[in-house]
């Protein structure tokens, strides 16, 4: 490790590869914010690795001037797991999409979250397959008409964050591609989290699912549709913060109410560090039109990582039995001699 302070700029993270997303794609904004935040993190560029699967989002590593690995469909978390286990000195990032992470790679995602390796997962969710030209994805709203569902889809979508919380992920957050400052802050937060972090980024696909998140982006509408989570704050939103998400304690459910109104509900103070993921799970299920969409950190708890526990077991075995040698390996068991 270099002892000198690392001073890098956004440009140090821009690769020579020409960026090839469609004009207006939300991915540009995410790439730009990532390149902007990276220099602040104090991690040497060569220590950073971006790993992706397949899909529009997964081209991301080619555009970052770090180490990068564009792998196969759905498997980025598994490749990242191997790399991180083998090389705990590296800062390992996964870039994936809703199809890549939640359909073909669903199992790898939840297993990685369950194990809690220190891997930072950016999940670009545009609710559609872009690279294959517009089929419904596992986050497509029920009834969505696409090339492969001309009469509408019949299955309900995944609540991505509820799924992650079901796996008891230690860091779960959401943002929107156009919320530049918020996006940057979320990237910083996940960079500093020790354990698997999942950031869902609602991202517009201007070609196949344009306007999917319009309510969250429209200047007039968004104050009523975005619930910005802040640690230690109540769940207020609306142009004048007059609206609030409350808990109905008898039914253990959240509902949208008004500040100061006697509706039997109680205001809840957001605690991302709660050990129990139940309240976070209730939040993760809120969606329009009835509810605002929460963005921010739903859960951030400290737990030992998979890699440190795995390596600690090996270390304990070394302490108990020694580090071993070739001779001990081969000759150590039950043997006999012929002379």
């Amino acid at each position: 490790m270099s002892m000198e302070p690392i001073s890098l700029t956004r440009r140090d993270f821009v690769s020579k590869e020409a960026v090839r997303w469609c004009p207006g794609c939300g991915d540009y904004a995410i790439l730009a914010q990532m390149q902007r935040v990276m220099p602040e993190l104090g991690v040497a560029r060569e220590k950073i690795v971006f790993i992706s699967g397949i899909g529009c989002a997964s081209r991301f590593p080619y555009y970052m001037n770090t180490y990068g690995f564009h792998t196969i469909h759905g498997r980025a978390p598994a490749v990242a797991t191997g790399l991180r286990l083998a090389r705990p000195d590296l800062s390992v990032w996964v870039v994936t999409g809703d199809g890549d992470a939640l359909s073909i790679g669903g199992n790898h995602l939840i297993q990685t979250l369950r194990r809690n390796l220190d891997i930072k997962i950016l999940l670009f969710n545009n609710r559609v397959y872009g690279l294959t030209k517009g089929q419904f994805s596992p986050t497509a709203q029920k009834g969505m008409r696409t090339k492969s569902s001309p009469d509408g889809t019949v299955a309900r979508p995944f609540h991505t964050l509820a799924l992650a919380l079901g796996a008891e992920a230690t860091f779960v957050a959401r943002t929107v591609d156009t919320e530049v400052q918020h996006l940057q802050e979320m990237i910083r937060r996940m960079a500093n989290h020790k354990g698997t972090s999942l950031l869902e980024i609602y991202q517009n696909c201007p070609v196949f699912n344009d306007g999917a998140f319009e309510d969250l982006k429209d200047r007039k509408l968004k104050s009523d549709h975005l619930l910005v989570l802040e640690q230690g704050q109540t769940l207020r939103y609306g142009a004048k913060q007059e609206r609030v998400i409350k808990l109905n304690p008898m039914e253990a459910r959240l509902f949208a109410g008004k500040v100061g109104e006697d509706d039997g509900g109680v205001e809840v103070v957001h605690n991302e560090r709660a050990a129990d993921p139940t309240l976070a799970t209730l939040l993760s299920r809120l969606e329009g039109p009835e509810f605002p969409t929460p963005i921010g950190v739903l859960r951030a708890v400290e737990e030992p990582t998979f890699e440190e526990q795995t390596h600690a077991l090996a270390e304990a075995q070394r302490t108990r039995l020694g580090k071993g040698s070739l001779g001990e390996l081969l000759f150590g068991g039950e043997r006999w001699d012929v002379s």
Partner: protein, 633 residues
């Protein structure tokens, strides 16, 4: 020997001392219920033979079900062992002694016993319910159907019940010691010292002293029963084999593979990463390695086969010696991952312990039918190197060889083991540590002139440039890359160049390989060709035929892709070529295509290894009629 049926409990007064007969080799097969401890009994008797200095080979043959319904035909588990005073290469075609724990085991295995063979059975297990489960209408003990065998019928159940009366163990626990009674009896019959076994039982049941005591007691009673019951007029002695001097241990193929993986890391001084998803018959590699993590091996039990291969690829990208192990169905799932390693030109070793298929097939039974899958089972042109160990012991060095080739040539290498190698065991003359060559794994560190696909002009390997190295930041991936620069490229000429380069890289491995060796003559007559776990049967068949004066030689391929440079030459030097495989003709198809030789086929797909006699008779059928040609000196 006289038939000694139902003579249990006999013997008092003057005891005739049994004669001792010396034998060159003995084949014993233990058969019983999955829960009867046949694998343990076989393994314990194997240890005694090994400690007695015999050459030996074993073949465990068991069902996939852990505990099939007790007494059922499906639940029969077997363990065959050959031990000898001379060199042997297989676990034997047919047992000389069949140890039978219940009627179902008799029903499924009696056909293997030659008339006159010894049948040692537990008469206590031949009760109406067990007979019915095995489909016997009448007890074979009573209907004369066993008259052609040397039947030794003892009520094991009663013996152990009497021996352990008042031990405080449950009836079930008492009955579970029956296998140690048989073991004791066989120790007496083959004159094995009891002390090492008693020690071994103590070690094995260290946490359950009462079970250890019971097993030891029953083992000793079995031993003395041999002496006092006058069931046998002869005891046997199989003298020590004239094995090469040195230190020995007994290993199965899976153990040797695991040791090879660890040894590769030690020889290279680099970390090892092993990822696997549990699958029969490859799981023992995972189990063995899990106990050896202190050697710098990171063991990862992945969520599935795909995660196992792709996590290994991630570790390889990070500079580890990356290995993933599996069997047929899992190997199929790994193919896309292997293709990624082909495209990104990362070193990766994939171990496929082949089993009978298709689909789930017969998980515990060996087959060699994944060769074409290995070579051609991925989309597009996707060459990998392929190696195949010939014996359980060879799994060690071939695993190290696979790591060496993968890391030197920056490509995936598939090691094709199989169920019989994996579970079969033999004595291993431990290598001289000084003979194990250190491996040099080179990581690129110099940023000067670096490009991700800049190739070594000799091997065509690209540099292994690890994340964490300043100045070498680069991106790899499954999209086609421009040679040298590694930029994404759809250029048609570049694509063809890359396809041919990846092929040439694998082909050039042959340059560094030793020439293939033929056992027997250099030319003329019949050449038997095989690969992988069939080595023992082919070798023994060749020796048998040559002893009879037949001009038969044997070529056993350890390198299946690329083939060693002299293979074509060898094939053409013989008048006839017979390729023997446990599949429908996969290697023979490759050899016919590659060398235009009229290779004949001997194929067996029963989930069982070749018997020596099957190969001998197939070879004889090809030899000129009536003429057994003299061998040239």
């Amino acid at each position: 020997m006289e038939r000694a049926s139902n003579s249990e409990g006999a013997g008092s007064g003057s005891k005739p001392v049994p004669a001792v007969e010396e034998l060159e080799s003995v084949v014993i097969r233990f058969v019983g219920d999955s829960g009867d401890g046949m694998q343990l009994t076989g393994a314990e008797f194997t240890r005694a033979a090994a400690l007695g200095g015999n050459d030996l080979a074993t073949y465990p043959d068991f069902p996939a079900e852990i505990r099939a319904p007790a007494g059922s035909l499906a639940g029969v588990s077997g363990f065959q062992l050959q031990f000898a005073s001379g060199a042997i290469f297989t676990a034997g075609d047919a047992p000389d002694v069949l140890v039978v724990m219940n009627p179902a085991a008799l029903k499924t295995n009696l056909a293997a016993l030659e008339p006159g063979g010894m049948l040692l059975l537990d008469a206590g297990a031949f009760k109406p319910k067990n007979l019915e489960l095995a489909g016997y209408e009448q007890s074979p003990l009573d209907d004369g159907s066993l008259a052609n065998y040397r039947l030794v019928s003892v009520d094991f159940s009663k013996q152990v019940a009497t021996a352990l009366q008042g031990s405080g163990l449950s009836t079930k626990e008492v009955q579970r010691t029956r296998n140690f009674f048989v073991l004791g009896l066989l120790f007496w019959l083959y004159q094995r010292p009891t002390k090492p076994e008693i020690d071994a039982i103590r070690r094995r049941f260290v946490r359950r002293a009462e079970i250890a005591d019971a097993n030891i007691k029953v083992f000793e009673i079995g031993y003395h029963f041999g002496e006092t019951a006058e069931l046998f007029q002869t005891r046997y002695r199989v003298p020590s084999a004239k094995l090469a001097k040195g230190h020995y241990r007994n290993v199965t193929g899976n153990e040797a593979t695991a040791l090879g993986i660890v040894a590769a890391g030690q020889l290279a001084g680099r970390p090892v990463f092993y990822a696997s998803y549990p699958i029969t018959p490859a799981s023992e590699i995972l189990h063995n390695l899990a106990g050896l993590v202190r050697y710098g091996v990171t063991v990862f039990q992945a969520e599935d086969e795909i995660a196992a291969v792709t996590s290994a690829i991630g570790a390889s990208f990070g500079g580890s010696i990356a290995v993933t192990g599996t069997s047929g169905p899992g190997f199929v799932l790994k193919q896309e991952g292997i293709g990624l390693a082909v495209a990104t030109e990362l070193p990766l070793v994939i171990i496929n312990v082949q089993r009978a298929g298709p689909s789930t097939g017969m998980p515990t039974k060996p087959e060699q039918a994944d060769l074409l899958l290995t070579l051609f089972g991925r989309n597009s042109e996707s060459p990998v190197a392929v190696l195949a160990p010939a014996t359980p012991v060879e799994c060690f060095e071939m695993t190290i060889e696979a790591v060496r080739l993968a890391t030197e040539h920056m490509c995936p290498v598939v090691l094709l083991s199989d169920g019989s190698l994996a579970n079969g065991s033999e004595p291993w003359l431990l290598p001289d540590l000084a003979e194990l060559k250190p491996m040099r794994l080179v990581y690129r560190t110099d940023p000067e002139g670096f490009a991700p696909y800049l190739r070594n002009p000799e091997t065509l390997a690209r540099p292994w440039a690890l994340p964490g190295t300043p100045g070498l930041e680069h991106r790899i991936g499954g999209l086609e890359k421009e040679d040298v620069s590694g930029s994404v490229s759809y250029d048609p000429i570049n694509h063809e160049h890359m396809v041919r380069t990846r092929q040439a890289k694998v082909d050039r491995i042959a340059r560094g390989l030793p020439p293939a060796e033929v056992f027997g003559g250099e030319e003329g007559g019949l050449l038997l060709v095989g690969w992988g776990g069939t080595y023992g049967a082919l070798h023994e068949a060749t020796r048998t035929l040559r002893a009879e004066g037949c001009a038969v030689s044997h070529l056993h391929l350890r390198y299946l892709n690329p083939l060693q440079s002299n293979v074509g030459e060898i094939l053409k030097a013989f008048e006839q070529v017979l390729v023997a495989e446990l599949n429908c003709g996969q290697l023979s198809m490759l050899l016919r295509d590659r060398f235009l030789v009229d290779a004949k086929r001997l194929n067996k797909v029963q989930g069982q290894p070749f018997q020596v006699r099957e190969i001998v008779s197939a070879a004889r059928a090809l030899l000129p009629k009536g003429v057994l040609r003299e061998l040239r000196a």
